[in-house]
Amino acid sequence: MNSIPVKPNVFSRFTTLRANQRLVSGVDWAGKWAAPILDILILILAGFIAPAFYNPENLKTVGIQIAILGVVAIGQTVVLLVRSIDLSVGMLMALGAVIVVQTQEGASIPLALIEAFLTAAAIGLIIGLLVTKRQVPPFVATFGMMVFIQGARLAYSHGQASGTVPELLRAISINPLGGFLPAALVVWVLANLAVLFVLKLTPVGRWIYAVGGNPAAARYAGINIDAVVIGAHIFCSMSALLGGLMLSGYIGYLDLGLGADYNTNAIAAVVVGGTTFTGGRGNLYGTAAGVVLLILLLNLVVVLGLPINWQLAMQGLVLVAATALQGFRQFLLNR
């Protein structure tokens, strides 16, 4: 078959574009494999232009940053798979850390952790309810939640976060396991394995892909769409909180600006990794590759000694390029 049959009822903005098999499969391939290939290219390139990158200390930093962004990106992937999006992850990361550090002074750490995770679950539940029951566009609902969490954090900490980071948080992020491997990487790999198991081998995973791929069909198949979407949001908020705890353990102190740029980074990493905004397409391998790509780029900016604002521009460029590529890919695949 040489050409994709064009469905007569699909109206596109590309009236003049003739999609042939080669273009479609090429864009599809690029969407899936861009991140891993770029990863390898950048790793090779870094050896030539920035030998300081392979410094063990730097590699350790990169590893921890990959792990933290990776944990947040896992939740974001699940949410994007069900055609939603979460912009409140960055704020939630900071809120969770603030709650844990401030409550552990009086209460015990397990209690503080339970409190923090329940808060995250409640926030995810509210977002999920807004998105499913009130049909608020997820972008707006989570953006509103972001402002709300920011306000709640200011009201709770009165502008000054205090307290020392408990030893437990250091143990899950910066402390080396077996001599050199940062614990954060282990947490990231374990989280990836757990979610991969759920996505690939359990009914829940199939529900998620079904709801994202075609919600109407999923409903006729007897899947409770609303429950799946709400569950995805709760999971995303909790994984963002875990990422926040790891981040505060890594930094070692509390900062109200904590996690501010994780919103853009998490979405960019997931989209670079081949997950589309229209749901049902994407996986965790791609997300992991996307996370590695983004952190490598951001780290290279530092290692090469470029001004720090290049990091911001880099995040934006990656997000725009990846969004454009995935949008085009999804568009071609749907024709």
Binding site: F11, S12, R13, F14, I85, I126, L130, R134, Q135, V136, P137, F139, V140, A141, F143, G144, M145, V147, F148, I149, Q150, G151, A152, L154, A155, H158, G159, P215, A216, R219, T264, I267, A268, V271, F277, P307, I308, N309, W310, Q311, L312, A313, M314, Q315, G316, L317, V318, L319, V320, T323, A324, L325, Q326, G327, F328, Q330, F331
Partner: protein, 331 residues
């Protein structure tokens, strides 16, 4: 005997047009009702709030959020969203401030630079529009990414406040023509132009058609790409104009200017009853949303609400506002 004169049916008939108006424009009636209630409530508790200068102040201060929200509502009507508005305003302000700095505060440059600023907005809007239409990507995310790039560029322009704005330029924000402040005149003109554009002109109606159903718009021979690009260009120009006023108000090129404006503009638009799924809404609602937000900040200040709780309250208002309206989602 009764306060109702006539039978109940006659009574209902007499009020039917009013009911019909309320049913048709529910969100607009609601928002202006809320504005009225908050204004009355604040007037009772705070004599300073109900003074005439304060009322003029609220109108004057709403110009920046107002201009941005007017541009934003045009984009939202098409079913998209422009998250670059705050960064467009900031980029414009910083660029103009830098040129003033290097030209030694030459006040002859004011008029050309105002046009240059609006030109920057037009170009950035064009970039957004082209990206959104020709990559077929999600407009929310793509403008979010562009905003991040602009944020990086702004930091590259300057990380410190830029001084050296000529004195005549600083007077623009406080200037008056007769007794009417320039701000209110500009805001009224832009709003009126946008209102005429969206209700009375052919390209303006095309915005609603594209936002309602792209497929039907195409069947009706509406140029979708052109309409979308135009909406983003308009939004960029409005944001740039807001940036010019912001520069005049702040007096320095502030690298942290307009933070959070993209969100406040979306809130104003949503509060004004414009459907965030596109295709529905009016400029009258947007004006109500802008006035409500400007008034809320003013009331917070007069009520001495703790600054730590102001943002919490705003977030709460936002969540209630987005939860309160329901629009059908097609699966």
């Amino acid at each position: 005997m009764s306060i109702l004169t006539g039978t109940p049916k006659e009574y209902v008939d007499r009020w039917r047009p009013v009911f019909a108006f309320i049913r048709k424009n529910g969100s607009i009636v609601l928002i202006y009702g809320i504005i009225l209630i908050i204004a009355l409530w604040a007037s009772i508790f705070s004599p300073a709030f109900r003074s005439a200068p304060n009322m003029v102040n609220i109108l004057r201060q709403s110009i920046i959020i107002g201009l941005i929200a007017i541009g934003q509502s045009v984009v939202v009507i098409t079913g998209g969203m422009d998250f670059t508005v705050a960064m467009v305003a900031r980029t414009t302000a910083l660029t103009i401030a830098t040129i003033f700095l290097y030209s030694h505060s030459n006040s002859d440059l004011i008029i050309p630079l105002i046009f240059l600023g609006i030109g920057i907005g037009l170009i950035l809007g064009l970039i957004n529009g082209v990206l959104v239409t020709y990559t077929h990507a999600n407009p929310f995310v793509i403008t979010f990414g562009v905003a991040n790039i602009l944020r990086g560029i702004d930091l590259a322009i300057s990380q410190n406040p830029i001084r050296g704005i000529p004195a005549p330029y600083l007077k623009i924000y406080d200037a008056q023509i007769g007794i009417v402040p320039v701000n209110i005149i500009v805001m009224a003109l832009v709003w009126f132009a946008a209102w005429i554009f969206t209700t009375r002109t052919r390209p303006g109606r095309a915005l609603f058609a594209v936002g309602g159903s792209e497929r039907i718009a195409r069947l009706s021979a509406i140029r979708i790409n052109w309409t979308l690009v135009m909406a983003y260009v308009f939004s960029g120009a409005c944001a740039a104009l807001a940036g010019l006023f912001l520069l005049s108000r702040n007096g320095v090129g502030d690298p942290a200017a307009a933070e959070g404006m993209e969100f406040q503009s979306v809130v104003a638009v949503a509060l004004g009853g414009i459907s965030l799924y596109g295709g529905k809404g009016s400029m009258i609602g947007t004006l109500g949303g802008v006035l409500l937000i400007a008034m809320l900040w003013n009331v917070f200040n007069f009520m001495h609400v703790d600054i730590y709780y102001q943002q919490l309250l705003l977030g709460l208002v936002v969540l209630i506002a987005v939860a309160a309206y329901k629009s059908p989602r097609s699966l």
